[in-house]
């Protein structure tokens, strides 16, 4: 028993010596050339820390996660995105789209109803559908303008109206942007719920594209309630809308679920998607008003001309007319009891 214990003891002793020997070089490193302890031997310098992670964080007594971050050089990159990339991207995409549409108007012109108006109206959008559309549309315009002000206001407006007026206006715009966002969320949710069924891709969409999407006069592009172009706008609005809503929530409740890097990414996503969204919606507005005769009334009064419907949404029109006939027949049968 005794020998057994002494065996263990000597093993532990040998292990301890070995560990000490292994630690020797480390110890040596912590001593300066004169044998005095080198206090910086184990200090990791700033550039090494920044190689390991994009931020230098430590411990702090202030009860805030943000305050723990000593340094985040990425702030300069975000500055570059915000001041250079975003300005160029936004200006190019939005001005480019307006220029493209102006060119389209000059070259193709307004798309007329080929056979002229029939005078007969068909209901295209119910009042609730129009309400959902205009709720989304109005809030989008407000959000778009107040959002653009944050990025471009200081270049475009500030020199004209002066710093005081521009600041008061921008502060109001900031609150408007934050609160009107709720209306946009509701509007988009309604639109999606109402129209997702009619926007599911169908075989006829391929034909529509093959026939030139209604832009080639000699060809007829078949379509259901929504054509492939409208479907693209719908799905884009759904995707981009979801992206701006999620990133917007992160920005409106800062640092709740993300850290500084998360906030920067949220802002980048919000801004990039928003300028693309604005460009697409400018095109949507153009086609719905200037670009095509007979389109705007669908969202204004809800009714479109029969010939317009025949030209642009033939399959949908057939369905509607069939429904009307059915309703008329059943109306007749209930009015005139069976013999």
């Amino acid at each position: 028993m005794r020998t057994y214990l002494s065996h263990i003891r000597s093993i532990i002793f040998t292990l301890a010596i070995l560990t000490a020997m292994a630690a020797m070089p480390v110890l040596a490193q912590q001593l300066g050339p004169d044998g005095a302890p080198n206090p910086t031997a184990s200090v990791v310098p700033e550039h090494k820390l920044l190689q390991q992670s994009p931020r230098i964080e430590g411990r702090i007594d202030i009860p805030s996660e943000r305050a723990r971050v000593l340094m985040q050089p990425a702030g300069r990159q975000w500055d570059h995105f915000h001041e250079i990339t975003l300005h160029w991207l936004g200006a190019t995409v939005i001005v480019g789209m307006i220029a493209a549409l102006a060119a389209a108007y000059l070259i193709i012109g307004r798309l007329r109803i080929s056979n002229g108006r029939s005078g007969r109206k068909v209901l295209r959008f119910s009042s609730f559908e129009r309400f959902s559309h205009w709720l989304t549309a109005a809030s989008f315009v407000v959000l778009g303008l107040t959002g653009l002000n944050i990025t471009f206001g200081k270049i475009v407006l500030l020199p004209i109206i002066g710093p005081e007026a521009f600041s008061s206006m921008s502060e109001a715009a900031k609150y408007v942007h934050n609160y009107v966002s709720a209306a946009f969320v509701i509007g988009l949710a309604l639109i999606v719920a109402l129209w997702i069924k009619d926007n599911l891709p169908r075989n006829v969409d391929i034909d529509w594209v093959k026939q030139g999407g209604g832009f080639i006069r000699s060809k007829h592009a078949p379509s259901g309630r929504f054509n492939a172009g409208e479907k693209l706008v719908f799905w884009f609005a759904l995707g981009a809308g979801a992206a701006v809503i999620i990133s917007g929530c992160l920005l409106i409740f800062p640092f709740y679920v993300t850290d500084i890097a998360g906030m920067q990414i949220a802002q980048v996503v919000h801004a990039v998607i928003a300028v693309l969204f604005i460009a697409v919606i400018i095109a949507h507005i153009y086609i719905g008003t200037l670009g095509m005769e007979g389109a705007f009334e669908a969202m204004a009064t809800g009714e479109v001309d029969l010939n317009w419907a025949k030209e642009h949404h033939d399959l949908w029109l057939e369905e509607q007319l069939a429904k009307e006939r059915l309703a008329a027949r059943s109306g007749q049968s209930s009015a005139v009891p069976a013999e």
Partner: protein, 198 residues
């Protein structure tokens, strides 16, 4: 004119937080706002260092660049100041600042951050020097009185240095030569696009 800077010699900082307290007292900084803070890296481990950090008054200040209402200005000494009258409390300067310097009096939900507050290098704001209006918004204007920032002035180990960038860099270099080590001027490369070569 001199280009003034801050330098924290991390090998001297003893994490006493006196700079933080002195700043709060000098400017009567409201509850919840810390213009200066001390962060400890590798706490409790070998190589632990504390760094006192506030606004570094950057060259090409990112906060000033991103501000949507352009409310920042740089003084002839290189101090980055802003106007609380123009600030809309958007919080963008905090996203851009590499040093977490901008502070806000409110939580921030639904854009309610309030006017941004940060270290002024004890140089006040756009109001008349040492006027009550300036004091209420930005705190004391020591620079106008010919004094340096209070945090560095009362630092007991002289870890935190403020003043002409060339002179404090020289002092730091000398220290490093004498004692034979130095973990560097923290944040200088990011703030001023240059470190201190020893």
């Amino acid at each position: 004119m001199a280009r003034v800077k801050f330098l924290c010699d991390a090998d001297r900082c003893i994490e006493c937080n006196a700079c933080v307290t002195a700043c709060k007292n000098e400017h009567e900084v409201p509850w919840g706002i810390n213009r200066r803070r001390v962060v400890t890296i590798n706490d409790g481990k070998p190589g632990e260092r504390s760094v006192s950090m506030a606004c570094m008054h950057c060259t090409d200040a990112p906060c000033a660049a991103v501000c949507p209402v352009s409310c920042f200005y740089t003084t002839a000494d290189g101090v980055v100041l802003h106007s609380k009258d123009l600030c809309i409390g958007c919080g963008y300067c905090f996203y851009a600042c590499p040093f977490g310097a901008p502070q806000y009096p409110k939580v921030g939900n639904f854009g309610s951050r309030g006017k941004m507050d940060k270290c002024t290098y004890c140089a006040g704001g756009p109001e008349d020097d040492s006027s009550p209006a300036e004091y209420a918004k930005y705190g004391a204007n020591r620079l106008a009185e010919g004094k340096l920032p209070i945090c560095a002035e009362m630092c007991s180990t002289k870890s935190l240095l403020a003043g002409d960038g060339a002179i404090i860099a020289e002092i730091y270099k000398e220290r490093v030569m004498k004692r034979g080590y130095g973990s560097g001027a923290w944040g200088w490369t990011t703030a001023y696009h240059e470190g201190i070569a020893v």
